[in-house]
Symmetry: C3
Subunit: 478 residues, 3 copies
């Protein structure tokens, strides 16, 4: 795909300057501090992907939900969802449906990522459509079968410097151990995701607590031993290279609760007798506890805020989570986070990165907060906001109050390894285009633009996540 100026403004001066900025960081590696690629892809040196449908459609809720919105039943895509329809078994027929509806992805980020991915990873320049669907399926399949098409070799080919996975706190990190033991030179680091042990009213919470205990060989019988087990897992993750933790919450409430009160809630959770309101309180208490732990062990705390999960309860019951039926709600940060920021916001060993699905909070709350509290930094556009318009809005709404240096660069946040270069490329182009516009309007000078371009590409992420050890000097900032 020979579109060297794609995504830049059409104005020739802006396009030329954006292109120069983009080219200036072309050799910098991809830094991937937060994402969902499965460590198992790297644990096995000879791992190969399945067919194009298993690679590109079934696991990608971005792709699935647009097909579903057009009335395509999940069963037609090979996914049992309790709909009564027969589950399609033939990947080529599923691929054909996808191609038939590919026009619906026009101007969506999923459409752009896939176009770039086909071109850059698979050397396919044609736009997917009903007529060429089967030929493109074949072309992808051929590539997937090649000996060198393994995750480890793609990691090198993509010039990835470090890639962080997301792992349950209860995970024993066996695959990460396997990667380490293999002697491979890639850097795959775990990230401790606390959701499954914090969301106390989920049906699988008691089992997760068992798994947590087993992973660390701890006994968990009360809130205090639970906290010790969490701290033990944090230490184990850190030992395995982790620099960060993560937690998803609907609203960012943080409430300091006495240990005795947390104990009562914890025991109710163990008995499966906790109300939704009590579970919310437990969660708000755990947000404080996790912040305290971060301030002690120095691991970066990430909070992903505002996703209301499993909205379509029938889908959830039949097909499980992460199928595309999660939706944002309005959120506030200023008041809910006050207890946490008052206790830890000025703590020099505490690092908090906030992600929002509610863009109205960029200018109203997040940039002002991040431009005061030293512990706080603002994460890039996430999920429904991870696209060209979302990035432009982020730049135009999150920088004025706080400055660029209170943000953390890019997260690809994907489970799709093959889409990683396309996602970073889009961010780099959006960044270059924004900076070029600032230079032409004389808001910044070109020297600042060069420095900010490097920061956006690698430096901010490296610094925020403490990944200096994995990148060359030119990928770091002061």
């Amino acid at each position: 795909m020979n579109l060297p100026n794609r995504y830049f403004a059409h104005d020739p001066a802006q396009q030329a300057l954006a292109f120069r900025l983009y080219e200036s960081i072309k050799t910098l590696p991809l830094v991937c501090p937060h994402g969902h690629v499965d460590a198992c892809l790297f644990a096995d040196a000879d791992y190969h992907f399945g067919n194009p449908v298993e690679l590109l459609i079934k696991p990608d809720h971005y792709v699935l939900r647009i097909l579903h919105s057009q009335g395509v039943a999940y069963e037609k895509l090979g996914i049992p969802a309790g709909g009564g329809t027969a589950v399609e078994q033939d990947p080529r027929r599923i691929w054909q449906i996808f191609a038939d509806y590919f026009y619906c992805y026009a101007a969506t980020p999923t459409g752009l990522w896939l176009r770039d991915e086909l071109a850059q990873v698979f050397d396919i320049d044609e736009a997917l459509n009903s007529a060429n669907a089967q030929a493109i399926y074949t072309a992808i399949q051929v590539q997937l079968s090649r000996a060198e098409f393994t995750p480890r070799q793609l990691y090198q080919r993509f010039n990835i410097a470090v890639l962080c996975t997301t792992d349950s706190a209860a995970d024993d990190l066996a695959q990460h151990q396997q990667i380490r033991d293999s002697g491979w030179e890639g850097h795959i680091l775990p990230t401790l995701r606390a959701d499954s042990i914090v969301h106390i009213d989920r049906p699988d919470w008691p089992a997760e607590i068992e798994r947590l205990a087993a992973a660390g060989r701890n006994e968990i019988h009360d809130f205090s031993s639970f906290l010790q087990a969490v701290e033990a897992r944090r230490a184990a993750f850190k030992e395995m290279g982790a620099t960060a933790t993560d937690l998803g919450v609907v609203t960012p409430e943080a409430v300091p609760l006495p240990a005795a009160e947390m104990e009562v809630l914890f025991q109710k959770g163990r008995r499966g007798q906790i109300s939704a309101q009590e579970a919310g309180l437990f969660e708000a208490g755990m947000v404080m506890e996790l912040a305290r732990m971060s301030s002690e062990d120095g691991m970066v705390m990430q909070l992903h805020v505002g996703a209301y999960r499993n909205h379509d309860q029938a889908l959830y019951a039949n097909a499980g989570p992460d199928m595309g039926a999660d939706f944002p709600i309005p959120v506030e940060f200023t008041r809910p986070l006050q207890p946490l920021l008052n206790r830890f916001g000025n703590h020099e060993n505490f690092h908090l990165i906030l992600f929002t699905l509610d863009e109205t909070t960029y200018a109203r709350e997040l940039a002002p907060l991040a431009s005061y509290y030293p512990a706080l930094k603002l994460g890039p556009p996430w999920w429904f906001n991870d696209h060209l318009n979302g990035m432009q809005r982020f730049f135009e709404q999150a920088i004025d109050s706080g400055g660029l240096y209170n943000t953390v660069g890019f997260n690809d946040d994907t489970r799709a390894l093959l889409s990683i270069p396309a996602r970073h490329d889009l961010w780099r182009r959006a960044s270059a285009n924004w900076l070029a516009g600032l230079v032409l309007r004389r808001i910044i000078d070109e020297e600042s633009a060069d420095e900010m371009m490097k920061a956006l590409t690698c430096g901010l992420a490296v610094k925020a996540y403490g990944l200096e050890g994995y990148v060359p000097a030119e990928a770091r900032i002061r």
Copy 2:
């Protein structure tokens, strides 16, 4: 008015491409699936409009409120509003006031619509001002008096393919019957608006229930017979060509309530003894019932959300509703609509179109929801958001997550027949300009732009409202 490139970006390449796209759909008809033109205009083949003030000022709350905001009393505009001032009787003096303040409409959509309307419908190219006010009044009056200046002939001249009115559920559709009986070839379809029968605490609700019963020759004595009467009216509307219903709500709460509970609320309403909170509950229950009915009879359900009505209570008491004192409030869709979407969102015979006055919901909630639930589509910018900036924001905030094909094209939503071409023209130009920008940034190719331009002009509206029977093949999409 010789401004062929008006509203397009100034960049020559974008302007040229936008113009080409705009020209490509020039011959496509106007499709008007939702609006407030009175059917009586078409029932009488010889209907003529009154004077320019009765046509352009008095019935248009967009016009009135800006004059009012500048301190012009409603009485000075010929409208008794309890203000104590004498009510102006001379339309030429009212017109003069309007002209004196016309500079206040600069850069407002009302200013643009009127400029286009004067130019295209009345051949008046001058900008209205104090000096030319009376001459322009005369020029308009001359046109209005011409024999061919009837709504039916304007319908043809404007190239309207189909025009949907909005009618109370309690309406007997006599005027629609008269249009049908007249044998005229225009397509004027009713839309069932449920507001007056759902808002149970309005003073005129009991009378509306009587009118509802009379219209369908039903007996209404309890909630069950009320529902039957509503279903009977829906059938009658459908028989008269209606494909859609409508309801305005402040917040989009949908609550499944047992019939027995609805019965209690219904009887309280009949006795005029229902509290505001109970009325809200009844409304939330009715939203579920109306969704259920839509899933059964296939009529599209429209929800217009977020207008707080009759804010200026003195104005309401003296001059009635729709005088310009309705204002938006913040709204949420994700959680309030969950019960409805869980029950009907995947139902293949259910079609829901959402309209919002809170633009923050485009990217945060509506596009994500519409890009998952097959029953749900997103309506265009409405009311306070129906202008060039509002359209641009809609394109930039509602398409990335959901794709264009989960939206429904344009609604002119006006009671002003003569403004309809100007409103559609503005939408077409905004669409062409947006698509041209996408092509130049290599986000879509020109072939997609052509297809999307046609969809935005007619195809999406035709499909969403089931109006295929009224348009030529090139006005439809796959």
Copy 3:
């Protein structure tokens, strides 16, 4: 700094037209209807500023908080904040820190204001950095020491026509009296800020009530005599030239409460026994009372809405308010203001100007409300929104519904006298650029643009604040 087209779009036609519009109002004076410059600067004819740190860093929370966000302790900036670090005494070392971090201000309004201020006021064209920090410190210090570098002479040099300060209702206006007595021809007008007497649960409220009583030589023993004392201060402010009052509130609740109920709350406040909830009620009652007073004495009522103050309680305890730890929250205007607007919104002697920190309210609530109620006008982008992007959003979100003539032009809202020209210049450039874009898209004609440019520069502010007496005819609008 030879950047005559700075901040304009890069498109040559837009740049040229914006420049022409900008030049057309170049000789118009600066009108400053709302700000925080201390009257004492003008009371003493020979007032001189201290060193660059005392002038530019210590009093400016915009500057401080970005340094703090990067981990610089307030003590390192010479400010005792209870942090345990030694308080830096050497201004040159503080200045060096500021210069070291100046790259963090890239693309922030503070960075732009300072760049312009250095260039225009101090003739320093170099960008501040670590290497030139001390030389620039010296250059500023030399200027500050010059005999003609007094506030009064800067007022003339800056071509200020009128400058309004902000003064506690309890202030005795001694400095304003001193300015008046001095016979100096500048116009420094007080503004009555009611915060300290309205926020009844603040620890210093009883003392403020004493001060209020003393200032007006009133006895205050109950709510009624409190109101009389407030009215007396309003009269005294008006006599001293004030045309406006101000109040900061977290949410814009206005509740009409019986005097007896206010009396109870007032006495609780006097005893220091009022709850946060009761204090909120008292405040909502006072908003109504202040509106009533404004409708009686004709002083403009300003409401600054949405700042949650003193978020970092430790900083507040140690260093006091206005240190950079105030943050916005989401707000609503439509319903909370209904009681006030129903009572006074159509009153011809009442004038209310609203300021918001929540930009989502521009299009959703404020523009619709201001384009109906004649008493209501919309203030310009405030605080965290006072920058190029914020102005552009204001123009694109607040004008369509309401028109430009329901807004009030610019407020510099600063305590930094030397930044005033830079702030107005930025607004004028943003205005010219916006208008040029409208002309090129044929949304307005060039004649309207000229008129609107004048209105944005002076006319709207002059009219809204009743400052006609201080400006030449060309600075007024119809």
